[in-house]
């Protein structure tokens, strides 16, 4: 009897194998993530540094009244700092426990990918640990590493 409110239709059934990937460059590596996980993409706004934060946290910023933690994806994935002066982009992801901004070097296209064709991630892709990928997707001329956002945003130790 308590279920009646929960029986509202879930997300409509669809071909779950076709996923649109938002792709972007972290260092030289082309990475992608499910576009449905992206809330918005911003330029880097004025940040407030947080002393004593983990080194991959660049700071926090005010996104329309929400506090957003900015993570340098390059640093997090072990590719070195993203160059702030090169007009990097900020991918806002609504993760559990608040908004998180992922700082990337450059935004690329939206790619429609069939997950069936996804290949397992190599142990290492252009310097990024394989554990951060759920797989690799081949397009006509390039490789897209599909990021495991939950893994990237997890708090180790």
């Amino acid at each position: 009897m308590t279920e009646n409110t929960n029986t509202v239709a879930k997300a409509p059934a669809k071909n779950s194998n076709i996923v649109e990937l938002a792709t972007f460059y972290v260092g030289e590596a082309l990475c992608g993530m499910d576009i449905l996980k992206v809330q918005e993409i911003n330029k880097l706004m004025q940040m407030t540094k947080v002393p004593q934060a983990p080194e991959y946290v660049l700071g926090i910023l005010n996104l329309r009244g929400q506090i957003v933690t900015i993570i340098d994806l390059g640093r997090k994935l072990g590719l070195g700092d993203t160059d702030i002066s090169q007009d990097p982009r900020n991918i806002i992801v609504n993760s559990t426990g608040g908004h998180v901004g992922l700082l990337v070097r450059k935004i690329s296209d939206v790619v429609t990918a069939d997950m069936v064709k996804r290949e397992p991630a190599p142990a290492n892709m252009r310097g990024i640990q394989g554990e951060f990928f759920t797989g690799v997707f081949k397009t006509d001329n390039t490789l897209i590493g599909i990021l495991n956002i939950d893994k990237v945003l997890s708090i180790e130790d």
């Binding site: 009897m1 308590t2 009646n4 409110t5 004025q46 407030t48 540094k49 947080v50 002393p51 004593q52 934060a53 983990p54 946290v57 926090i60 910023l61 005010n62 009244g65 929400q66 506090i67 957003v68 933690t69 993570i71 559990t96 426990g97 608040g98 908004h99 998180v100 945003l153 708090i155």
Partner: protein, 966 residues
Amino acid sequence: MEIEDDEILQGFIEESLEHLADIENDLLAIEEAGAQIDEDLVNKVFRAAHSIKGGAGFMGLTAIQELSHAAENVLGMIRSKKLIPTPEIVNVLLIAADQLQSMIGDVHNSNEVDISSHVTPLNAIADGTFSQPPAEPVARKAASPPAAQPVATVVEEEPAAEEMAVEAEAAQEPEEEPELELDLEPEPELNGGDPPLETEEELAAPEGNSQGSRTKQSAPVKAETSLRVHVSLLDSLMNLAGELVLSRNQLLQTIGSDDLRNAEAVGQRIDLITSELQEAIMLTRMQPIGNVFNKFPRVVRDLSKKLKKSIDLTIVGKDVELDKTIIEAINDPLTHLVRNSVDHGIELPEIRKKAGKPDRGLVVLKAYHEAGQVVIEISDDGKGLDGDALAASAVQKGLITSEQSQTMSDKEKVNIIFLPGFSTAKEVTDVSGRGVGMDVVKTNLDQLGGSVDIISEKGAGTTISIKLPLTLAIIPCQIIETGGERYAIPQVNLEELLRIPASQVKDRVERVGDAEVVRLRGTLLPLIRLADVIGVERTFYDHKNEEVRPDRREMVSDRRGNESPHTRRGNEQDRKEKRGNRDGRPRSVIDRRYSASSALNVVVVSTGSMKYGLIVDRLQDSEEIVIKPLGRHLQNCKGYAGATIMGDGRIALILDVGNLARMAQLTSVDSSDRAAEVAKAAEDALKAKMDRQSLLIFKSSESEHFAVPLNQVERIEKIKRHDIEDLGGKRVMKYRSGSLSLICVDDVAMVQPLADHDDLLVIVFNIAKRTVGLLATGPIDALEINADIDDTTLSQTGIMGSIIIDNHTTMLVNVFEMVQTLFPHWFAEQERKVAEEIADEEPPNILIAEDSKFFRNQVKGYMTEVGYNVIEAEDGVEAWERLLEYGDEISMLVTDIEMPNMNGFQLTQQIRRDSRFSALPVIALTTLASAEDVAKGQAVGINEYHIKLDKERLMVSVHDFIKRRH
């Protein structure tokens, strides 16, 4: 059972619960009034029971109906004075009310509940067959004084009659409720069948039948879902919202028209409306603390009955309003504290009589506003807390060490009960001490941003005061700036703001052990530098140029006589250069300490019983801020309580002052003074072990190493060779506004000449009231070494002796002797005077106590030079023997502090205790004349302190004392 309409049912439940909440206190009042029945009150309770009965009948809740009907019957008899409400009867009624409450809380299963155990006694009372017929209690009451009855009574400050009348009216006409209900939850769907509400109700009714705690437990859960707001308040909210919309339209128009003046006006308007709106919305969340307080008369009554104590409860300040989240959250801690007072605080009547107190105990529950906070006080006139017993118990439980317990103040001992794992009850009763310790109370209050404090006097009672913020959502904060970023410090933690002017920094900021402290109205306040704790670069704010610049001072103050700021080891050169670059002028011209921007801004904060000063770059405004949580990646940054968005859209972090103190390892609770003492004791112990000497190491030629006692050094200047002028056969240089005489070690001693460097150092000394500079070359270093000085091998004019430092034989330069040799006329006058004074009589005997042969010989040398007789002793014990031997032939004692067998402090103490020597002047010599030493020395009776090897000052004061003695 089928209930047709959820909304009506919901309405019935809420109304009934409200009635029941009132009934409880009203019954207690009826009980107290006894035969003098307050008809209004009884009427009110009667009507409440009647309303419940009626509603239940309409809903088909037969069990509730039956029970309320039985209660109504009894109440009706009381109303018509057929029955006198004795405690026993009221008790039955109360239990019935509890049962009603639990049944209404779980309304869907209420019909299955067996209520016969309640209905039977009620009917028995009504039939006059109750085990205690109405006549008997009256007789008994007349026979025994009412005070002997183990019953709690309620004394309320404000007469509640008016309020009650209003409520009673409301009860009569429920359709015309003057209040509206704000439903915070989505409306339940009316799709028949199973209402979603049932699960909610199941939650609301917790298992178990412990009446005391459960009666109210369901109320907070209910309060979470909806809240009663007065219509007038809602109207004003609506009004304000309308105003806001109008102002927005105005603002949009103004932006379109580029009219700046109008924009200002609109801005002001919006500012005004927003604050009003904020206040109004806050008001909707405010609830009188009476909601929580009201249950305590019953709690105290039941408990005292059980414990055979007689206790009055006085409640003051029921109307004080608090945010509803806080009201809900303080419920449990308060219950615990009140139970504690009743159970552990108030003694049994016999014991109270013996102690000369009235046999009725008094518990006072008081709420009032103070400095933007709400203070709740729970006080009792019971036996109070025994600090020593608490400490002993804590030691036994291994919570603190016995050493700790000995150094604790009384207040700290009383606060032990907040330690986790500490329960004061010797035996666990079922009333309190059920594992929920006071530490849980404290933790709960801490989470609310409140604090708790205990004042207790053994035998006289205990007062526990709780400070709580009015609300949690918006808090006033002091904004400060450090490292170019703004931070917010909640006003709750703020004690005061302190600005130490540049010129006073040196005097007021001191160093105890590793910590910097500031003297504030007679107490030592530990200082923490915010930049250091959170690990950002130290900066200071330059008011002249309005910019933030790096600060390179290592300490807030330099210690007189202990170490010179210019000789911090290591990066001296480096730092100097940077200073030069930054200021674009030689550092010596303007000491930054005296410019306005080197004043210290200190925020004095307190958290619980800990208080400390936070050094920040800049103090800004006080602002009301909204707390926003930090993301999970920053959960490990313990120094922040959250973040907030400032007017300019940027973010400021909110500091958690408690955790900052922990991060700075300022762990001691309530004992900054004690921490200081302990640190000092540790320092003393360290010093006592070794006779240490601070030396400044330098070079003159390439291969020879030299050292001078650091405490003689005034300052160090960096110069170029061409700065030196050769005039009249003397080397001088321009220094400040005059000329500085320059000397070289090789001027006097047989050592290699000064190396031919372009960069030179000048070590400035102050001798015979003049300054003199010793030319040297780098690198220089400051060291503390064990004073193991060889005073024979290399001793010569200008060289006291030698010492091995880092495998180099280092010569200890006697600057005084050098100056004496080079500029004898500087001293001529002074010595002549002394010689004249002494020549008249027998030369005075001076006792020197010093364990190091080197220093003893040095001091002896100074003394004999001017004609004093010297008696030597190697330690305190020997000095005492000499003193007994020579008696009053000895005019003065010059003693070392750190000596084997008996140290200088002990020696002085012994001397002062002996009436024969109590007037003997005592001068102490030490390698480290720190302020603490001086204070300690003065306490034991040392007349004056001097630094070893500072011949000049020592001799001046020796002369002084000798002169005074004659």
